[in-house]
Amino acid sequence: MKKILLVDDEQDIVETLKFVLEGDGYTCFCAYNGEDGLKLAKEVKPDLMILDVMMPKINGFKISRLLKYDAKYKNIPIIMLTARTQDTDKQIGEETGADVYITKPFDLDEVVATVKKLI
């Protein structure tokens, strides 16, 4: 079973994504801040990560950068969730190695389709 790590400080979003993805047969791990997310990523070595950008302590960009520079984790695909107002998000997201960038509020089907495409 494929493992997906969900990291977002908005618990409700994590809940809904987890519900849908588990329904589609994935195993989900959840973290609600960047620190835990990074720790969990190294622990479980997921097949894919969905990261929120705006989080306290360590934000999504930083996690992405840290993982992509590490040979052990650099092949994990990353989907980055960002708020639309941050104009530079997309650019930074690409530079930090996120594979796909999805703006909030997102369409659930879009996320599921993207996950299926990546793993």
């Binding site: 519900f19 849908v20 909030k104 509020p105």
Partner: protein
């Protein structure tokens, strides 16, 4: 009558002159030798000197010299014996009395000369007065134009002081004013230094003056001697004035701002003031009143503007924050509804599905409203950043059409396209152009009834050939050159003619029940218009009620020139937001010169050449550059460099024109 001095040692002559002249009530004196003569001259200058040139024993040379020194206001008559007159005597004498002297000739000569002298002195006095008045007039004229040139209170007071000083040459001037927060200020301008004790006296006098000015009246501002601050200016820093200046002649005038008290001015002078001086003084003190009033208005307006700007900024900030906060809960709301509707969470009854669909639809409307609000607040704050690239408009239309097709089909509508055979690119931010198309097409879908058709067509058109409704003419007039025109036509409900002009205005959704039904902030079209504005395009609409609407928009066909002006607009916008300086330089000359300037002179290093345009028009080339002035003086330095190069190579560059447009957006205080 007149003081007359006879220089002679001839007893007879002295006696004779004394008799005649005293009879005519003149004040007669005589000097019998050189020493007495000199003594009399130094003690009291006579009006007439009669020189007896027949006395051989006098040292005339010495006398002449002395007389020459004093001649100015004295009449010299010389008694001579014969026609042999020495040159010096000829030079200094006003008239000659040949011997023997008849009494009548003596008296008439004296009278004529006295009268002549009197006329001349009166003439010179009035001449002096005239030139003084002219000078004062000149000062008045000068400060009049200086007053008109400034709107700064302090400068105005300085100009007034300068004018008073020039015209009236005062010893000390004291000006009482109140700063905006009612702090009293005493400005003292003097020739010599004012000692501390004298300063205290002047302060006391000022307070007393102020109190007496408003005796039995309401005092405009509180004035206590302890609060009175002073500013001293003195031209001569060595000497001190003592209390004697309080005995000098002085003048006093109140300065008003319309009906309001502004302050007063008092000046002291060691010489007495004349009537003309008084007039001049009052003219100047009255003249300053008007510009001071204007200055205070301007100050007020500036304060208000600042406040307005701050509030406007706060509003945008508020809208931006609120809409961002409002967006956050939409994601879980939307996804939860999607989960329920997809049946993932369990089987739904028909009613459950119906109400969940209603919820989902409304969440989507809500999302759209917030997105519009965010976009609008970004546009208003000038923070909308466009990423311009060369774009194929037809491709965008096809893309949006494919997205909207299923919604249209649901409503029983068809979307057709109709493109110009010629192919043209535009310079645009593709995602924003998608937004424009999305807005227009979804509007068309909303307002068209079942079975209707929406047609999207493109056409390459010259700005001269654009036809549109009267109320949009102003926008069309600004266009120039080739454009791609897009028309989104529907056969829906249409728009009433009187509503057409306001359709692109913010928050002015047309009153219409159907419009109400479909919802919306009324921000869609205003946003579309702003996006097109940023692309140097525009939008307009043609519509017949109940028959349908045609929304047209145009975007310039990509070219070096049109792309430049789009970037130019964006750069200026960014400079405004960042409150940085920028400068637009355009140089018009023939082509070679401009190329020289660009390549050979190496004036403009690469990084500043990101945004420039070379435009050929009627044999003249214009180079236009925009230089954001982030590094403070780059634009200034470049301007100087270009100026000096152009000047030093005049022959090479021939005729040229340089135009600089500067804009500075000063940092706010808070």
């Amino acid at each position: 009558m007149a003081k007359i001095l006879l220089v002679s040692n001839n007893e007879q002559k002295i006696e004779h002159f004394d008799e005649i002249l005293t009879k005519c009530s003149h004040d007669f004196q005589c000097a019998t030798n050189e020493q007495t003569f000199l003594d009399i001259l130094t003690a009291n200058m006579p009006k007439i000197i009669i020189l007896d040139a027949t006395i051989p024993s006098f040292d005339f040379n010495q006398l002449y010299r002395k007389i020459n020194e004093l001649k100015e206001n004295t009449i010299i008559l010389s008694i001579i014996k014969d026609d042999k007159i020495p040159q010096e005597l000829l030079n200094i004498s006003d008239a000659f009395l040949p011997e023997p002297i008849s009494d009548n000739i003596l008296i008439s000569t004296i009278n004529i000369n006295l009268r002549r002298k009197d006329t001349i002195s009166r003439l010179s006095a009035s001449n002096q007065n005239l030139s003084k008045n002219l000078y004062q007039l000149d000062v008045l004229y000068n400060i009049g134009s200086q007053f008109a040139a400034t709107l700064d209170k302090e400068k105005l007071i300085n100009i007034m002081l300068e004018g008073l000083d020039k015209a009236l040459d005062y010893s000390v001037a004291c000006i009482l004013t109140f700063k905006s927060n009612y702090e009293p200020f005493l400005i003292i301008d003097s020739i010599n230094q004012i000692s501390n004790r004298l300063m205290e006296a002047l302060k006391l006098r000022t307070v007393l003056n102020y109190k007496s000015l408003f005796e039995n009246k309401e005092i405009p501002f509180e004035l206590n001697i302890e609060d009175l601050q002073t500013i001293k200016y003195a031209k001569n820093t060595i000497d001190d004035y003592d209390f004697s200046i309080l005995r000098y002649d002085n003048m006093f005038a109140q300065i008003n701002l319309g009906d309001n008290f502004f302050g007063f001015v008092e000046i002291y002078r060691d010489k007495e003031f004349t009537n003309e001086d008084t007039q001049c003084f009052h003219t100047i003190t009255q003249q300053v009143s008007m510009p001071l009033k204007n200055a205070s208005y301007i100050h007020e307006i500036q304060q208000k503007n600042k406040e307005l700007y701050r509030l406007e900024h706060l509003k945008s900030e508020f809208v931006s924050i609120v809409s961002h906060e409002l967006r956050t809960p939409i994601t879980p709301l939307k996804t939860s509804l999607q989960i329920l509707l997809s049946g993932r969470a369990g089987v739904l009854t028909e009613n459950m599905e119906k109400f969940l669909t209603i919820s989902k639809k409304n969440v989507e409307i809500f999302e759209k409203i917030i997105t519009d609000l965010l976009d609008m607040s970004k546009i208003e704050a000038g923070k909308m950043d466009y990423k311009f690239t060369l774009t194929n408009l037809e491709k965008s239309i096809e893309f949006i059409k494919s997205q909207q097709n299923c919604v249209a089909e649901e409503r029983g509508l068809t979307i057709t396209t109709n493109f110009d055979d010629n192919y043209a690119l535009i310079f645009a931010d593709t995602s924003r152009i998608h937004q424009v198309l999305n807005n227009l097409i979804s509007n068309a879908i909303k307002f068209t009834k079942i079975g209707g058709n929406i047609n999207i067509s493109t056409r390459i058109i010259d700005s001269k050939d654009i036809i549109c409704n009267e109320c949009f003419q102003d926008d069309i007039k600004k266009l120039e050159g080739k454009y791609v025109q897009v028309c989104v036509a529907d056969n829906g409900i249409g728009i009433a003619e009187e509503d057409l002009p306001k359709i692109f205005d913010q928050f002015k959704q047309v009153e219409n029940s159907l419009l109400r039904e479909v919802g919306g902030t009324g921000l869609g079209l205003p946003i579309v218009k702003k996006i097109l504005d940023a692309h140097n395009g525009t939008i307009w609409v043609d519509s017949v009620l109940n028959e349908g609407s045609k929304f047209y928009f145009v975007l310039p066909v990509a070219s070096e020139k049109s792309n430049f002006w789009i970037l130019h607009k964006q750069l200026i916008q960014q400079a405004k937001v960042n409150k940085s300086k920028f400068i637009t330089i355009s140089i018009t000359s023939d082509e070679d010169c401009i190329n020289n300037l660009l390549k050979e002179e190496n004036l403009i290093s690469g990084i500043y050449l990101n945004n420039y345009l070379l435009d050929n028009n009627k044999g003249k080339t214009t180079l236009t550059m925009v230089i954001p002035n982030e590094d403070k003086n780059i634009a200034d330095i470049l301007k100087r460099k270009i100026d000096s190069t152009m000047l030093s190579n005049k022959t090479r560059y021939g005729k040229y024109d340089i135009m600089y447009t500067y804009a500075t957006y000063p940092k706010e205080n808070n």
